[in-house]
């Protein structure tokens, strides 16, 4: 595996901790609780996926996945509103911003010369990246709902050269 394997799950965790302490858990009482068992991670059900693509000296995708209750709680915290006031558009916008923040911070840890796309958000089935494979993943529960952050590295020239 290429140099990006040097981006460890601890690095993703550090980024996530910053996001949580700034926006989702400013009082430090409800952090994202990491899950380490592969079996438990595989059992997590997510149906909202926000992603940014990274191109340049490294090619791949950073995907933030969660379920609707998690997206609602996340949106309520980001937008300073009650969870039951959160609408579909709020969730899409907030998850997109979350992917943008995580992806931008991931970029800062990659070799120079990378570019981050604007975010996209899809609901339902997880997006497929046929020519990419997951190289780093952080999964956890926040307020009992799943959050999974995955880095997918594309195969091919730039993906392997990084």
């Amino acid at each position: 595996m290429s140099d990006v394997a040097a981006l460890r799950v601890e690095d993703l965790h550090e980024i996530v901790e910053q996001v949580w302490s700034s926006y989702l858990d400013p009082d430090g009482i409800e952090p994202l609780l990491p899950i380490f068992s592969e079996e438990d991670v595989a059992a997590l059900k997510t149906d909202m996926h926000a992603s940014v693509s990274i191109t340049g000296t490294w090619h791949g995708h950073v995907v933030v996945a969660c379920n609707e209750p998690a997206a609602k709680n996340c949106s309520a915290a980001f937008l300073a509103m009650e969870a039951d006031e959160v609408g579909e558009e709020d969730m899409m916008d907030v998850l997109g911003e979350l992917a943008n923040i995580v992806g931008g911070n991931v970029k800062s840890m990659l070799p120079p010369g990378c570019f981050v796309s604007l975010p996209t958000v899809v609901t339902g089935e997880a997006p497929h990246y046929p020519s990419a494979e997951p190289v780093c993943q952080l999964a956890g529960l926040w307020k009992e709902d799943p959050f999974v952050i995955t880095m997918w590295q594309s195969s091919g020239a730039a993906g392997e050269a990084a």
């Binding site: 980001f78 916008d93 943008n100 923040i101 931008g104 120079p112």
Partner: protein, 120 residues
Amino acid sequence: MKILIADDSRVMRQIVTRTLRQAGFDGHDLVEAQDGKQAFDMVQSEKPDLVISDWNMPEMTGVECLRQLRANGNDVKFGFVTSECTPEMMQQAEAAGALFFIIKPFTAERFDEVFSPILG
């Protein structure tokens, strides 16, 4: 003071607005732009005292907006709030004339540190 907040994400524009308030910078006149081109146009039409801009935006990036403003002789106080931070970007920002570089996620304390000398 009039402050222009430029970010293609309305979520982030809202968070920047809230964080300014949390950091104690109430009472300023806030206007918003949704992309770099709109920010460039609004600097001319709205004449803000300060621009707080995202880096990666449609139509025109934040740094392209800043460069074009300076090329047109506009010296509005301008800085970045962005999730991307590399040494190259910071060098580009500084070379273009940016006053500050705030990394997302950010806190009210960070806003206080950066904006106190500017907003008083």
